[in-house]
Symmetry: D2
């Protein structure tokens, strides 16, 4: 088992106990979005509705209290609700029946008053999302902090920059980690903003007119939002699914940010590169020597499931008239899966980055492997004044090709070129081909990213 | 609860008990693809591997027998396996450990011999798919038979054909149902073919060379395929994911075929159209009068989740070298979800079509609602000899517009047109504007579809 | 052709002339994102880079001026660039070659100095997005204003609210339009915010260190951003694709908002519903009478293409190291297609809503079609004090079923029920079954939406 | 430019000239699916329809001849058709008008007789797909043959097998290439089968009843299929989109097969691995030394666009009633894009594999890099008889860890282990740690794949 004291490693309940959940539903999001969490959220909405109606004098306060005490998920039979839900294509109909039975007369008459099934489901979905975003943001933020620590420590540690998987010019590990950081921070900011401002209560009654509340519709809407700690929407949003779409798209972006860093780790950890290793690499059922970067691999596996789920949720947006005939019901599972898979990806990445082992010697050895080829751009630039930009590029490209095909060091090939020798001395070449002095603004860019990271924290 | 004696209504175990599963995981596929089913399939593969090795004299037969008797899913702790799976990013590593413990020395040494984790997972995935396709095909086929029955009974029942949701020309309900039938039959054929020929055993050992079996690799591969009842592949397919992609794409097509029929039902059942109703329409938590077409709506909700899952599985295909670093692990959940959601969609549609109530009078009333406007094409064709095709279309379009905007019957408007009156008598117009005599080849096309349906059944 | 004086109807250039472009690439976005626009954007970036370097004294001002004058897209051979781009898998390499030739020595040496291909492509992509979002936002906003006008005019116009495509309770057309408005406004706000704050210049040099600019990297970055009118990023973002992901997700949400309104229009325009019609409905090649809602249909067709494109862009986010080996190059076409298809959808919807014909009489006739069934919820609520909530619902459900199956008016069935008659007089029933007095807070909700719409406009 | 004599390198027309098309629309598919190709296909359908009607004596033969001679795409104004298509949301309406004008009276009356727009568009789409699949299959097949050649030549060339991007056990390059081959062959077979049996003509008239043809509907359908060389469907399939879905899914699988091989090439070509290089690697705009695997990168970029397009086409399947209100029209662009992007991916991969340079010495050097660590499985198996499977794995895992962390050769660490030394002599260890003798059945598996490949060719 992976050693860690991070909150994301707390035992997950519910959905987290499935066969694949150790890998695909890591962290605390799974239990915050499992069946029990949904059911409790639905009950929380019913309880808050009754309480709001009591606040407004529309139902007796005693009813609301009775209902509230009945609204405990463990008192309901999940399998029976699930089976009964089939008759109406939504689980609220049997839940209301069961809740009325649990509350007993006369409080039963104050259950679900004025509401429609979708009011309860949508408000519950928002509560579930709100609650799931807590651990999800904690893990994303934890990953960001781990990236920030790597950026700070390795601000100046050189390694080969690689484009199209070929060595390009030197960079620093700090710059690479700063890139991860910036993307993760952005995802955190977007999701936190969404959580605080766009997760709104749903209440419209049968078709969005709040007709069941007489003249008090807007007051009930505002009161319910306040009681649930969700935003108050301008309108009931039964078939305005922009909230769901925004949440989906933003979770998709977060998945991409996580996967980018995880992909880099898997590539840096390759046997032939070996510049990083995970803190607790994984074993194999067949190969005793394997040291697999399982946290990064699992983060990739989780994140890879996001884009399809996002597409499903976006495609479900055009829902008919006042309640969708299929599109709405199609949201429930993908929304939950998306929260869980992105949460899991974040938990894995946090673990991966927090315990990442960096081998700066291997980085340097890989930088030297091509004998300076990846400084070609720099030599070329030094030749521009004499040869023109195109001419310089041509001369260096030719030398690079000779070096690559013959195995001779590029320094030697260049020194043998009369056009080069006329301009650059041996000392010049040595200086130009030193990777540690061609890091450009990498360290300063790291500082910018860290400053931006800190100013976000300060602003909270 | 929905009355039905179809096998798909048997109580579902495992995945089928979740809060949304009554709606989103209907039928028997859910339990055929739930965690327990996966675990049992993995154990079945381990047992079959040991037995195959015993067949070939590579391990003692007694070991194989001991292992077989240990391979019962209910003897393993799912939550513990799930948690331990995190350490190696796959659940086979802890399962093999637990199975060895369960088998005890010396049989433990014959557990998982020569295999790699992916051999077990992939073969288990194929077994799960094979087993899940049983009820899935039964429900798809049940839906097809229900469509065939509707096509036969309503071969000649006229209703308005509608294009772009506007009445176009008359069709028959039989022709509409024949279209559903043809698409469902095709999905059944494709999936049955895939099941029988493309679901292949996986066995390659650590990197696909079968090196752990010495010279007997191909013999073990063939033996294992035979024991599991799966196809024998030409090669181990650890990173040739065409099978998964084909299965995904074909399930996606089946989802589309189901959703097409379900969409038509929701449209025909609209309050303002009212040409069909479900056998047991669903209620509402707020509106006592509602008669919702819940089976069709639920079928749509399930089917809508397929395209995104297909995209996820296709996007995961380009897996690295001899085992994917993320792509492989990303398949498990979407593959299961896809089987379940398409199975659920099929179960709902079967139920929907098997109990569909058809109101032929409403169909006729809707045909007459526009006073013959939807025979405009026919009148136009009758005028072509005299007015040319463009001229005829123009005259009829103008008459249609006058009829639509003034509310006058189009027959009267046409009769008042001198260009029309010169060619068509009142009797001609009456005949041309009778929708029941402009059904073209609809009945014969129904016969073709039913004949094709029957010849498939005969060929099985 | 559709009559309109809106800016989106101006003749589109480039991509807008393809066979399907009249339908699928409507409006001005197509020409703002076509090949020529991309090429010009790439040249604009090269020119701005040279100018920025001149501002900083790093290249002669005369070079920058020469380069600027060479940077006109119509001076380059698109087909030759396209063909040559294959050799390096990006079109910047041949463009730089051609631009150097066009600028001539010595200015050629100041072309593309310090930059890498991706700097040019990404900055150009941001410019293209910025420029395309102009007409896209104009059309989205035009659609929103048209929805606002409908909401204001029809604030109190009753029609049947429909859930799961069944009549539910009355709503007003104003409320329906207010729902469209709110979603469209949100899309406008999100996209405008993205355009102004997240479309950032790209400049990093070969691997993101700005090494080619010596110590001046950050200054060049800031200068280039200022010259191009794009945001300055904290870091080069060659493989931080959150910007692309956010843009994709937000365009996907906008597509959903457009499609929701368009779907409602196609449903309201059905022959059997006939509550709205488009200003210029479309004809058919076969049926002279057809009055197809072609604008709404086309908006749906365009919007339906968005979710898949969003998934493609999100799935491309995890790009390797300092430049993606496939993922980056995979963005170009989907990003363009997404801008064009969402822009086209918005242009169609604007046209659709701006000319929508509303038939309030048909709405009222449809409301009356079920003889008051859709007031069942209201009658039920009135019976709660006497019968309890469950009892009331049961009585009304039974009466509804009798009414539906026998064709007797529900009012008559209810009046004949002793339990009902004991509580509600004939006058009570008449009042309760009048749809025009059961609109709840619909008009006030419309006012809220319009107020929010206006306050947004004021805040700009 | 890339040297090649393959047919896929012929200059592409139409769509192939766009800015990105050299990269994203390589090969001949682009011109087979461009606007001109679509237009010509539509005209081919109109001509064939008239000819079929003449065959059956339903229109004068002279009309058909006149129409045929008018059906040349270059005689029509694409931009005008595109613009006019907006009025009816399909391009057939203006095309029929223009074709009638071109044919002149009286032949004009025989244009489009009995058909509906969708008959023409769908049949044309099938023709376009048929024609585009020609070069697409040629390129896929060319890639397969190149893979077969690599498999044959390198049947026994050892290199490190890699799982989760870590060295695992030795494989041969032949086995790796055989895996590519098998997936490509499968894609070819699936697409060829689809092309020959599922691309069917569309003809149904206004709503699929063939009413416009009187009693001759089925005869016209059969005749048109024969004339166009497409399959004859059982029914018109205006809203049975299984054909489109199957084509989409299968193209998605082909994209995955291509991308798998391309991904391996990019990984093998990494600077630190350097086991393969492309025949003509690509340059950079900044770095003169770069030797980018541009063909593989471009293949990945093209293939990555497929899954989202597949999802779009699958999601569009549930089309309303007798013609979709948005779903049908949403297919045109993604279907074309999917053909083009998969064709382009195949063309790139063919080029990549046909000219791939293999460095067997680098492969051997990488195998030796870990000093035998990747033979750990083999040593472990040799210890099982003495230590049991679990014990053996533990001993070897420990030795592997010591070797990896200290840098000592694993052979030396193992030899120093008393438990190992008791069982295995130095000679045993030397033999066990020789990678070239632990290739298992790799060569025989290559033979199986090549035999399967040849038997397919023979069967054609």
């Amino acid at each position: 088992m992976r050693p860690s004291s991070s909150p994301s490693d707390a035992p997950a309940g519910g959905a987290g106990n499935g066969l694949f959940d150790g890998i695909l539903a890591r962290g605390a999001v799974a239990s915050a979005a499992d069946d029990r969490a949904w059911l409790q959220a639905m009950l929380d909405v019913e309880a808050a509705l009754a309480a709001t109606l009591a606040d407004l004098g529309k139902v007796p306060a005693q009813h609301a209290a009775t209902i509230a005490s009945a609204c405990r998920a463990d008192r309901f039979d999940m399998a029976a609700l699930s089976a009964a839900a089939a008759a109406s294509a939504n689980p609220v109909v049997p839940l209301v029946r069961a809740l009325r039975a649990a509350a007993g007369r006369p409080a039963a008459d104050s259950v679900h008053a004025g509401a429609t099934s979708q009011d309860i489901m949508d408000s519950a979905a928002m509560l579930v999302a709100y609650r799931a975003l807590g651990p999800l943001l904690a893990d994303l933020d934890g990953a960001a902090r781990a990236a920030a620590a790597l950026a700070a420590v390795h601000r100046d540690t050189p390694l080969a920059g690689r484009t199209l998987l070929q060595q390009a010019v030197p960079v620093t590990l700090g710059l690479k980690a700063a890139g991860w950081l910036t993307a993760l921070d952005r995802s955190v900011d977007l999701l936190a903003e969404l959580r605080d401002r766009r997760l709104a209560v749903q209440l419209g009654g049968a078709a969005g007119t709040l007709a069941g509340f007489g003249d008090d519709g807007p007051a009930v809407l505002a009161g319910l939002a306040g009681r649930l700690g969700l935003a108050e929407p301008v309108l009931p949003w039964h078939t305005d699914r922009t909230r769901i779409g925004e949440l989906a798209g933003t979770l998709g972006v977060a998945a991409g940010a996580v996967a980018k860093a995880a992909r880099d780790v898997t590539l840096l950890a390759q046997t032939e590169v070996a510049e990083v290793a995970e803190g607790t690499p994984g074993g194999s059922s067949a190969m005793p020597h394997k040291r697999n970067p399982v946290a990064a691999v699992s983060a990739l596996a989780c994140a890879a499931q996001a884009p399809g789920l996002v597409a499903t949720l976006l495609a479900a947006m055009p829902q008919e008239h006042e309640r969708g005939a299929g599109g709405w019901q199609a949201e429930w599972r993908p929304l939950r899966e998306l929260l869980v898979t992105v949460g899991s990806a974040a938990a894995w990445l946090r673990d991966c980055l927090a315990h990442l082992r960096v081998d700066a010697r291997a980085m340097r050895a890989n930088l030297d492997r091509t004998g300076g080829l990846l400084l070609a751009e720099r030599v070329s630039a030094a030749l521009v004044p004499a040869l023109g930009r195109a001419g310089a590029a041509e001369v260096v490209a030719e030398a690079s090709q000779v070096a690559a095909s013959t195995g001779r060091p590029v320094r030697q090939v260049l020194a043998a070129q009369p056009q080069v020798a006329a301009v650059l001395s041996d000392t010049d070449l040595d200086r130009l081909l030193d990777p540690t002095t061609y890091l450009g603004s990498a360290p300063r860019l790291v500082d910018r990213a860290l400053a931006a990271h800190r100013s976000r924290l300060a602003a909270r």
